[in-house]
Amino acid sequence: MATIEFQGKQIEVDEEGYLQNLDDWSPELANYMAQQDGLELTDEHWEIINFLRDYYNKYQIAPMIKILVKEIKKTMGPDKGNTKYLYQLFPDGPAKQACRYAGLPKPTGCV
């Protein structure tokens, strides 16, 4: 089992660094994960991470990128509701990187 050490605790993650137990998540852990990737989380990052977490609470799955863009556009305007902006914030892709910081699992199946 892969783990990351954080605040003296061993946190279980999968092979790609996604949390195994969603309850292990905390904002501090998200900051720590980002730091490991050489990224400082700003308010702009947090807007997206919080959106993802709210969505997950409601729907039990990370939103598809199309919905993410659409909803961000609706609530934060077209400057932010576009793929380019999201990729600027999360260079490895909003679906993968932002979901990892948000503590959400990766979708599986024919996707």
């Binding site: 783990t3 990351i4 092979e15 790609e16 729907y59 598809m64 199946g109 024919c110 996707v111």
Partner: protein
């Protein structure tokens, strides 16, 4: 610690394929678990959810696979059971004459140069063990008779290559004996599952499908919300509000599609096409949030698991009291319906033989399964002149068609998709003859290999398909690769981005949705991707 991320080599590097065979005999070349060429091991929670044996944390690259002490006994007993149960398995073990006709027909061999990806040698991995334990010659003469012991290294080699075969069956088209190597892979995977050695990417969808009805684990309200989002887009494009029903008892038809159509791009555009078509027809149909998956990753695990997951579609049809089932654009779903359903569950006698309420056509070919492919349904509508179509709305697309392995080789489904595409598009071009229809090249990611950690082998396996697309891209300017399978829609998108970046991927019903003239629609200025239709802005300037 999690393993360091593997970078997929660049296309220029990957295209340099080394076909020189290793210097040693193949039995002396141990398997190497090179990152990028295999999938992660199944998480214990997924195996527990469906009562699969030996749930534990493990990874294929680790030395210790944490198998039970009597693992060898379990595998050999499992093999014996299957040799007795499946006549095909025993026959295919016995009759190969190693003529090599299959050797260069496998997309994984073409793309990797690894001799163990020649179907004949991949099968030999099992045949050698079969000879040792189940044939007199092998028992008496051992190595001289091509027999070898089942050791841990052999088992690992099985695993590596059985989860590197997409069960596409292209090799079987060329085999003079008709040996279906996919059947051997299927048996091989069953044996690995007896020891809890599935991949995480297959085991996850299996568990999700069992618990929530679909591979992605979409909850009922999530399905509904995603479809409503698509209806919002349709309204923006056409001015028409569509309100589909869910889990409606007494509907005439139950519609089931792979859950990828409800979640990913470009699958959702295909799904919008279905929604628009059914609305325009006034079809009395319902979605189900319970039977919310056309695909069946159980089929990539074991026949028993496939059988178990498969029936929910029919249980739901029975519960809702529909007359028959219409199925979406999916690959392996159709192989299961067409070739396995009757053996597993017998004819679905509680349903009626499908009859199109629009044209009156009775689908005799589905009189046992009661399930009709949506492209077949649409082809029949077009043939009877029931749809008003404006193919010029697809004029910005130069389209080619990828035959999915399962619909083509699994059910001989060649003409209908082409007929539909030619009626909704003005520009259609075929790929070379030896890469389409029954000789189609696999996407390289079928049978549950569409994970992300094995990207290198996916891009290698998809290379022959991509090469054919590149050919029509250069020759005719093809910019759209149409298909009828959800794995294709996801996998070919990645494949094209890698090998032929100016080609996009779509389902056939996305093209139908673009061309379909709907009653009361506003003038179309956008396609289903909400992208402006070229020419429309010019027309406005003219006015």
């Amino acid at each position: 610690m999690a393993k360091a991320k593997t970078k997929t080599p660049k296309p220029e590097e990957l295209a340099k394929i080394d076909y020189s065979p290793p210097e040693k005999h193949w039995t002396e070349v141990p398997v190497e678990f090179r990152p990028g060429t295999y999938c992660y091991g199944a998480r214990p929670k997924y195996l527990e959810e469906v009562d699969m044996p030996n749930p534990r944390e493990w990874q294929p690259y680790e030395d210790d696979w944490k198998l039970p002490e009597n693992w060898k006994e379990i595998v050999l007993e499992g093999m014996e059971d299957r040799l007795n149960k499946y006549r095909t398995f025993r026959l295919f073990m016995d009759i190969c004459v190693r003529c090599g006709a299959c050797a260069d027909k496998c997309h994984f061999f073409i793309g990797s140069g690894d001799p163990k990806n020649m179907p004949v040698l991949r099968a030999e991995l099992v045949r050698s063990v079969y000879r040792k334990y189940f044939t007199t010659g092998g028992k008496l003469f051992g190595k001289k008779a091509g027999a070898r012991e089942l050791t841990m290294d052999v088992f690992k080699e099985w695993w590596y290559y059985f989860y590197q075969c997409t069960e596409c069956r292209r090799c079987s088209v060329f085999c003079p004996y008709g040996i279906d190597t996919a059947e051997i892979t299927i048996m091989g995977r069953e044996l690995t599952n007896l020891l809890g050695c599935n991949t995480d990417w297959i085991a996850g969808p299996v568990a999700n499908c069992y618990h929530k009805g679909n591979h992605l684990g979409l909850e009922p309200h999530t399905i509904q919300s995603n479809i409503e989002m698509m209806c919002d887009d349709i309204e923006e494009i056409t001015g028409i509000r569509i309100e589909p029903t869910f889990n409606r008892k007494g509907a005439e038809i139950l519609f089931v599609t792979p859950s990828g159509d409800l979640f990913g791009v470009p699958g959702v555009y295909t799904c919008m096409g279905y929604l628009m078509l059914f609305h325009e027809l006034g079809l009395d149909y319902t979605w189900s949030t319970y039977a919310s998956e056309g695909g069946n990753f159980g089929f990539f695990t074991s026949n028993e698991m496939a059988r178990r997951l498969h029936y929910k579609i029919y249980a739901e049809a029975k519960r809702l009291g529909v007359k028959w089932i219409l199925g979406g654009e999916c690959g392996h779903m159709w192989r299961l319906i067409h070739q396995y359903l009757d053996t597993w569950w017998g004819p679905a006698d509680f349903l009626e033989v499908p009859k199109s309420p629009i044209t009156g056509t009775v689908f005799e070919n589905a009189k046992s399964t009661k399930m009709v492919h949506v492209v077949e349904f649409t082809a029949d509508l077009i043939r009877h002149g029931k749809l008003k179509l404006d193919p010029s709305r697809n004029d910005h697309l130069r389209v080619t068609f990828h035959d999915s392995c399962n619909t083509s080789r699994g059910m001989g489904f060649f003409e209908e998709p082409r007929y539909v595409i030619k009626n909704v598009c003005n520009h259609f071009y075929e790929m070379p003859e030896n890469t389409i229809r029954e000789k189609t090249f696999c996407c390289g990611s079928g049978s549950g290999l569409n994970a992300s950690e094995n990207m290198e082998i996916r891009m290698r396996g998809g290379f022959p398909r991509a090469n054919a697309v590149r050919h029509v891209n250069q020759k005719y300017g093809v910019n759209m690769l149409a298909n009828v399978c959800a794995i294709d829609r996801a996998a070919l998108t990645t494949l094209m981005q890698y090998w032929v970046p100016d080609v996009e991927v779509c389902g056939v019903h996305e093209l139908v949705g673009n061309a379909l003239v709907m009653t009361g629609e506003t003038e179309r200025t956008m396609d289903l991707r909400l992208e402006e239709l070229p020419g429309k802005e010019e027309e406005e300037e003219d006015v």
